[in-house]
Symmetry: D2
C-alpha cells in the first residue's frame, strides 16, 4: 500500500552546509513527508555522500537537478517525488524551481526566492499558470508566537498601528571570513552568487517579511543607508531603513552582520494607539504585551494555554515551558505546505491555517524589497524612494 506521505526531493543541502539538514528535519518531523531523492551538491561525490548519510538508495541520488527531474518524472507516480526543496545559493534557485514546475512538481525554496526581481516575476507567472504550490521559507513567520502576534494585531488589540521597530543584528561577518573556506560566508558576500544585496538579501529580507507579515501592511516608501564596514567586501554588510507603510505606519528596519555579539537576534516591536507587542527570536516562546496603564503581560506559548488564538495553537507542538525553536518554525512551514499540497492533490480547498505559509507572492515582494533598499541605500541625493514594483 502506498504511504500517504508526500515524497520530497532535494536540490542542494549537502553535508557541507547546515541549512539542508535543518530543512530535512523540519520536513520529516510531522511524519507527513519522506525524503526520496536528491541532488545535494554540484559535486557528485558530495551529493553521493550526503544522500547516503540521509539513508537514500544510490539510484535516487543524482548528480544534477536536471537528471533528477528527468529520472523522477519517468518513475511511476506512486514512487516519484511530489515536490522539490531548493537550498542552494541564490543564483541557483530559479532554474530548478522552473524545471520542477514544468514537470508538475511543487516547490519549497529558501529565501530570497531568486537572484533577481526579473526571475521572481517569471516564477510567479509560472506558478500562476501551473496552479502548483510554491513556498518560500521565511522561517520566522513559522513561529507560533509570531502567529499569535499577527492574530492579535489583526483583531485590533493594539488599535490602529503607528510605529514598528524591526531589527536583525548578526556579528559573524565582522571580519572578512569569506576569503577563508569552511564557512557559509563565501557566496553570501559575492554579488555574482547572492544578488544585488548582501546583508539585506540574507537577513534584511527576513526583517522586512516579518514586518509586513505581522502588520498586514505593505511598505510604500523607503529612506535608507547601506554600509560596507569590512574593507574589501564588495557588498553591503550593514544598513538601516526608515520605511513608510500603508495607513501612515512608520517602521524602522536595522540589519547588520558586523554587530559582534549577536547571533540571529531578529526582533520586532509593534506599537498601536492602544497597546504594543514585542517578540525576540532568540527567546521565541513568549510575547510581551502592553496596554497603557496596566502591568506588562508575558504571553507564553504552549499547547495548554487557553488564551492563545486558534492560529497559534495550530502551530504549537508542546505544552508550556517545553521550548520549541527554529526547527519547529521551519516544520510549521513544511507542515502547512504539505497539507496544502495534499489538499491540492485531493482536489480539496485547503483551510486558511494550511495556507498560512509564505508563497510566491511573498517571494516577489522580497525581491522588490532588495531592489528598493539597494536603490535607496546607496544614494545620498534622493531621500524617499518609492517601492520598486
Amino acid at each position: 500500500m502506498k504511504s500517504r506521505k508526500l515524497k520530497m526531493g532535494m536540490v542542494g543541502g549537502g553535508l557541507t552546509g547546515f541549512i539542508g539538514a535543518i530543512h530535512l528535519r523540519a520536513a520529516l518531523m510531522e511524519n507527513k513527508i519522506e525524503l526520496v531523492c536528491g541532488c545535494f551538491s554540484s559535486k557528485p561525490e558530495v551529493s553521493k555522500e550526503s544522500g547516503r548519510f540521509y539513508n537514500l538508495p544510490d539510484n535516487r541520488i543524482y548528480s544534477s537537478y536536471q537528471e533528477m527531474f528527468a529520472r523522477e518524472i519517468a518513475l511511476p507516480e506512486e514512487e516519484r517525488m511530489d515536490f522539490v526543496v531548493i537550498v542552494t545559493p541564490n543564483n541557483h534557485h530559479f532554474e530548478p524551481a522552473m524545471l520542477a514546475l514544468d514537470n508538475g512538481m511543487h516547490v519549497v525554496v529558501d529565501k530570497p526566492m531568486t537572484f533577481s526581481l526579473e526571475e521572481a516575476k517569471i516564477l510567479q507567472q509560472k506558478v500562476t499558470e501551473t496552479g502548483l504550490i510554491l513556498a518560500v521559507t521565511h522561517v520566522y513567520a513559522g513561529y507560533p508566537a509570531v502567529k499569535e502576534m499577527k492574530t492579535r494585531i489583526t483583531a485590533g488589540e493594539l488599535g490602529k498601528l503607528r510605529r514598528i521597530y524591526v531589527e536583525y543584528p548578526q556579528g559573524w561577518l565582522a571580519e572578512r571570513i569569506e576569503i577563508e573556506s569552511g564557512n557559509n560566508a563565501g557566496w553570501r558576500t559575492d554579488p555574482k552568487l547572492s544578488g544585488k544585496a548582501g546583508c539585506m538579501g540574507d537577513i534584511g529580507t527576513h526583517a522586512w517579511h516579518l514586518c509586513e507579515y505581522i502588520s498586514g501592511l505593505k511598505v510604500k516608501e523607503m529612506c535608507a543607508e547601506l554600509n560596507t564596514f569590512v574593507p574589501g567586501r564588495p557588498i553591503d554588510d550593514d544598513g538601516t531603513a526608515m520605511m513608510r507603510m500603508e495607513q501612515g505606519v512608520k517602521a524602522l528596519l536595522a540589519a547588520s552582520q558586523i554587530a559582534i555579539g549577536n547571533a540571529n537576534n531578529i526582533s520586532i516591536r509593534v506599537y498601536g494607539e492602544k497597546g504594543s507587542l514585542k517578540w525576540v527570536q532568540e527567546d521565541p516562546n513568549k510575547l510581551f504585551f502592553n496596554t497603557s496603564h496596566t502591568p506588562e503581560q508575558i504571553i507564553y506559548i504552549g499547547g495548554d494555554y487557553p488564551y492563545l488564538s486558534q492560529r497559534a495553537q495550530w502551530n504549537i507542538r508542546t505544552p508550556g515551558g517545553h521550548p520549541e525553536g527554529f526547527i519547529e518554525a521551519f516544520a510549521n512551514i513544511y507542515r502547512n505546505f504539505a497539507l496544502t499540497v495534499a489538499a491540492h492533490k485531493a482536489g480539496e480547498h485547503p483551510t486558511a491555517e494550511m495556507l498560512d505559509f509564505p508563497d510566491v507572492n511573498d517571494g516577489v515582494r522580497g525581491m522588490q524589497f532588495i531592489e528598493t533598499i539597494v536603490k535607496a541605500g546607496w544614494n545620498d541625493d534622493t531621500k524617499w524612494v518609492s517601492w520598486v514594483e
Copy 2:
C-alpha cells in the same frame, strides 16, 4: 533495497495525550528511525485513529501490545520492528518492556521506568541477560547545554563541588483538575497507576536525574518533606529534600506541582570551589558560568561556537541564535539510542557519544529515588534516610 533506518513500534502515545507525538517527532527528525507499527491506546478505536493519523497502514495498527509483538515477530526480519517505545502510564511500562526484550526487541521507555522498584530490578536483569538496549527518556539529559555543563564539571572547571540547587516547579496541579477529564492529570495523581509518588515520580525524578547526571555523583542520604496541598488528592503534589551526595556535596531538591506560574521550570545550579554553572530549561540554549573575581560568562549553545566541548557539539543541530528545544533534546536521546542499536546490530562498539543516553541503570536508580524520598518525606521522626537500594 532495505532502508537503513531503524523500525519503531509504539505502545501508547495516542492522539489523546501529547507525549506520544513528541516522541514520534524526536524519533523521526534525524531520518534514522521510521514508525512501522503501534498499539497506541488500550481503546482499539483510538489506536486505529492514531495509527492512521500517523500514516500507518491498517495492518500495522494493533489493538494490544501482545498482539503487536506476536504479529511483528512473525514478519520477515527486514520488515518487522526493531524496537518499541513505551509511552503509557507508569503501571503499564513493565509488561510491554519485558515482552519486547523477550522477543529480541530493544526498548525506549518513558520515565519513571516502572511502577515499582521490584519491577525495575527484574527489567535490569532482563536487559543484562539479553544484551539488548534500553533507554529511559530523562529528556533533560538530552539538552546540549546540559552536556556542556557535565563536560566542564567533569573536567574540573568548577573545582571540587560543594553545593547544588536543583528544582522543578510546576503549577498545573494547583487545583484538583484530575477529577475532570480532558487532561493528563488523572493517572499521574492516582497511586494505583503512577506508583508511590506523584509529584516526585513525575518531575522529582527529572530533577534528581539531572543532579546525578551533571555532577557525576550519587545521592547517599536524604532528609525530606512531602506535601499534599490540594484537598482530596491521595499523593504528594509538592516536596523538598536536602540530599547528601558523594564527596560531601550537599544538594537541595525542590519540586512542586502547585507553584502557579511555573510551567516546566526545571533548573540546576552547581557550585564548586572555583566556580559555578547554572542552567534553566525554559531558556535552554545558554549556561551561566562564574568564577570568583571575573565577569559572568554566558556560554551560548550553537554549532558554530568554537568554545563548546565535543560532547555538546555532537548534540547540536543549529548555529547560535537559532534556538533548539524540547523535541531536539528528546531527539538526542533517540539518535544516540539508534546509533547504539545500529552498532549493536552491526556487531560494533558504540562510541562514548552514542552511549550518552539514560539506560536501565538510570531507570533503577530513578525507582530507588522514589522509594527513598517517599520513605523520608512522609516521616517526621527520622531525619536522615539512607538511599534505598
Copy 3:
C-alpha cells in the same frame, strides 16, 4: 531658628567599611535628618578622619560612644542628637543601644539586632519601658516592590498561602578571605564577634525576615542543615532549612556564602491557592504575578503606575523606568523611622505607613531565628525543632 530636621549621631560606620556611608546617604536623602555627631570607629584617628570626611566639626567627633552620649546629653536640646544609628560588628550593638535609650535617644541598629537572644530581650524590655523608637535595618523590607507584594498577599490576591521559596545566595566567602585584611569578612566569620551563626546571622536573617514580613505568618518549626564548606572556618557558611509556618504554609530557606557568581541574590517566591508573586532583589523594581490560566504579569514599580497600592506608592520616589535601588530601600526605613520619631516628639500618633519599618520585635525574632536554625542545623538526630522563644 531651629531646623525641623532630626539630628543623628553615628556609632561605627567609618570609612573603612562600606555600610556606614550607605546608612548616611539613606538618612540624608529626604532632607529630614542631618548628621550632627559620631564615633565612627574604635580607633580615634579613624573616627576623626571619618567625621571630617562627613563634614562634621571636630568637637562633635568622639572617640567612644560613651563619650558621645555623655557630651551630647549635656548640649541644649535643640542642638544635641535625637537618635543614634549603630553600624558596628554584632557584638557591639547592645551596649550603645542600651546607653542611647537610657539617655532618651531613639535608635537605629543594623541587623542582627544583638549578639545574643538574651541581649535582644533586654533591649526589647528597655524599649517598652522607655517608649522610645528602635528600628532594625532589615533593608529588603524597605523596597517598594516588597511592600506591594505584602499588600497584595494581605488582600488575598493569592488566596490562602501554601508554599514559599526564599533564598539568599552569595559567593564572596568561597575562599577564606577572612584571614586577609581589607575586607568585611573578618568579624562576620568570627563567632566571638558575630554570634552563633555566620551565614545565617548575616544573610539568613534577611531571608527569614522577608519571608515573615511578606507573608504575615510566623515560623513554627524548622528542619535544617548548616554547613561549613571552607576549611578552617569556625562557623556556618551555607545552609538550608525547611520551615513550617502558621496556617500550614511550607517555606524553604536557602542561604549560602560560597555560591560563586552570586552577589546579593536574595529572592522570594510565594504561592497560594489562586496565584503567585515573585521578587528578585538584584532587579528590584518589578514583581512577577501569576494566576492560573492567564498570562504572566510584570508589575513594574513607579510613582506613575495607578495599579500600585498606597503602601507601595508611599515608598516610591521615581516614575516608572527610573530605577530605585538599595540606598532608597534603606532610605524608606529611615524616612518612616524619622516620621515616627517626629510624631512621637509632637505627641501625635504615627500613621500605619510611618510605622512600616522593622522594630525591636523583629529584632528579637531575628535572634530567635538564629537560635533555632543553629539548634536545628547542626543536629543530625532531631528532624523538626520548634521555634526557640
Copy 4:
C-alpha cells in the same frame, strides 16, 4: 564654625512636579551640599509650601528668582547660596542662569540647557567670561556602567568603532494627556514652553548625548524623520535619525513617546571592529561585552569588582548585587560638580574625575542637536543635513 558643605538654592522643583525632589535627594546624598533657599514655583503659595516641606525657614523661601538672587547676594558670604539649580520648563532656564552667573553663583540646569540655540551660545559666553561652573544634568552620563563603557571604548577594547544603536522609547504620551492637568505633559508638548522639539528635546537629547559621550565622537550629518502621531499635538512625539559621526561611525537614533509599554527604556549598543558593549538604563548595573568567538560577558557594577575601571569605581557607592539607580546617577553629577566648585573656591585644579559631568559645551551641542534634527526631520527633500553649528 562654617560648614564645609556647599549651599544650594533652587529655582523650580516644587512639590507639583517630580524632578525637583529627585535633584534635591541627589544633591543631599553625599553630605557635601545643603539646601539653603529656593523659589520653587511661579506661584508664591506653592513655593512657600514646597520650601516648608523641604525644611527651609520662611525667610529663605522666595517668590521669584530675581528676589532670591537679590536677597541672597546681600547675605554674608558664609550664609548665602553658592550655586543655583534650575528645574523649570525649558523657557525659564536662560534668565535665572544668566542672573546667577552675573551674581557670581555657579549653576546646575536641567536639559535641554535653554529654550533656543541663541540663548545657549550667550550662556556659554557668559560662563567663559565669569569662569564659573555650569553643569547640565544629562543624567544618564552619571551611571557608573556608562562610565565603564566609555572607559573601555576609549581604551580601544572594541577596536575602531563602526556602528551605534541608541534609542529612548517611552509610552506615556500615546494619548493626548497634555490637555488634562495633573501630569508633566503640558509644557513638554507646547512649543512656546519647550522649544522647537518635543520628543527630541525631552528625550532625544538624552539619547544623542549618551551616544557622543560614550563614543567620544561627534555627529557630522543627519538624515531624519520626525512624526506627530497623536492628533492635535503641535510638536513631534516620535522620530528616528540616521547619524554620520566622526571617523565613519554610523549611528541610529530612535526616540518615541508613543511606544506604549516603555517607561524610560533608553539603551545603547556600540559595535567596533573587535567587540561590542551594550547598556540598558532600566537594568543599569550591568554591561554586556562581546568579542568575536568568545562567550558573552556580563560586567556587573559593584564597588568590590576588581575588573572595573577607576572612572567607574569613582562613581559607585554599593558593593555588587545592591542596585544603584537613577538618583545615584544624578548624585554623581552633583558630587562631581560640587567637588569642582569646591576646588574652584579653593583655587585648586579639579581632577579629571571631578570634571566628569556635562557642562555648558554639552549644553550648547544639545541645542544644536535639536536644531539639526528639527531641520532634517520635517524635510522630505534633503536627505543629509549637516550639523547646525
